[in-house]
């Protein structure tokens, strides 16, 4: 199989909705990183989060095993620190091997759920 993806990705438009409607965790408002590692090596991924009015925070470290996908909610990241909800942020995703990155937002602030999924921007 061909190696696919990039090693650096950017997501500029993050803002995790504060409120949720419906049973949790299925209906928790969230933003999610979906990572595909189609290669033969585990991907060591580092996420750096940028804010409007404070220094970047990170890296948040996750591993995506070879030939696997992993979906990670930004809501659940706590190391090095929990991300604030309802606050503008952007992030850079760096990996030691090529990966493909998608960004999803699920907003259940109202009972009529809103779902959005976009590809992250491949930097390199």
């Amino acid at each position: 199989m061909k190696i696919i993806g990039r090693t650096t990705w950017a997501i500029p438009g993050g803002r995790i909705p504060l409120n949720s409607t419906g049973p949790e965790p299925d209906f928790t408002s969230n933003e999610e990183l979906c990572i595909l590692n189609a290669g033969y090596q585990d991907a060591k991924v580092e996420i750096t989060v940028f804010y409007e009015s404070r220094d970047p925070v990170g890296p948040y470290r996750i591993t995506v095993p070879a030939k696997r996908t992993r979906h990670v909610r930004f809501n659940d990241l706590i190391a090095p620190e929990a991300m604030p909800l309802d606050t503008d942020y952007a992030c850079i995703v760096d990996s030691d091997v090529a990966i493909v990155v998608q960004f999803n937002r699920r907003d259940t602030s109202r009972a009529e759920n809103a779902l959005m999924g976009v590809m992250a921007f491949p930097v390199d």
Binding site: N75, I78, P80, A82, L85, D86
Partner: protein, 404 residues
Amino acid sequence: MQQEWTNWSGSLRFTPGSTETPSDEEELAQLVCRAASDGRTVRAAGAGHSSSPLVQTEDILVSMERFRGVEHHDPGAREVTVKSGMMLREANRAFLDLGLALENLGDVDLQSLVGAIGTGTHGTGRRFHILSHHLIGGRLVNGRGEIVEFPMERDSEFVLAARVALGALGIFTALRLRLVPAFRLHRREWCAHIEDCLADLDRLIEENRNFDFYWYPRSDEAKLRTLNFPEEDQKTTIPYARCVKEMSGWSGEVIPRQRELRFDEIEFFFPAEAGPRCFREVRKRVKARHRKSVGWRVLYRTIAADNAYLSGAHSRDSVTISLHQNNTLPYDEYFRDIEHIFRDYGGRPHWGKKHYLKAGDLRPLYPMWDRFLELRQRMDPEGVFLNPYLSELLGCGRTAPLHA
């Protein structure tokens, strides 16, 4: 120039006037004697894992790092006397070498043994006490610089005060402990929804030697931890949960875990029967008001009643609830707000963690409060071991002139 002292989480920082590292009991006694006659104050530092300002001083800070090792072992009585500067992890290994163990441990073993005892540190398990319950005697240097021995056989009342003493009775130099035979445990961690866990809580607490859970406020999921004797753990089932991790080993190896991520914490003890209601109210409040900035967990544990004067579990089987916040994020507003709920349920604070109570709030919570203060006055009449925080906490001040 004096070095700044920092605790584990980084939320407590101060620069002592001087730092002394006595090599033995006599040297420590002379140091305290001099301090008393000069009108100075002395505080002893442990490992710095606590985040309350019990240790904070602008005067003399004593390091007990040279007080290490086992001083005496009575195999028949399962008694061990250790020097007071031992770290908890080091003590666990030394006890295991003797075929002995503490009956229970907390989440981490980064504390000094004397610090864990002095602040009423505990693990989880409805049949198990705070760590201090093992203390049956020892020696300390009192505020006059005298070396005082306090065997349980001669002065049981003093031992009950000494079990949770906040460093206010003197500086311990030796701790005599009655232990249990070393034992192995099987540890499992499970993921489940918090509502399923709460519906099954009584059974989980009853059927497991050690049980606790962490609730994650941004998903409403919980991490459940069970520890049982390996030969008895085969029957443990939690049908609605999935087991995500398991391991077996000696108690000192599997109860405490590594904690790389640093945090600040507030924890209160409640009557056991009030625990579930209190937790539900905390959960509701966190979701309604604090979820924007709080992503980390809330911990629920159980502890058996004891009779140490300042123990959080004094005279009542207890539940503890603790809040965690990353040490790089603000905690004050969150902890203060939830403390109101803790107080509504008759909560008593963990002495080594953050809380905002003062002597007037605390006295009604501890039936033996006044007796503890009488003993404290007897041991330290001039307030050599008081710092401003302890004076406010206990409601007692220095009687000697402050050092100029």
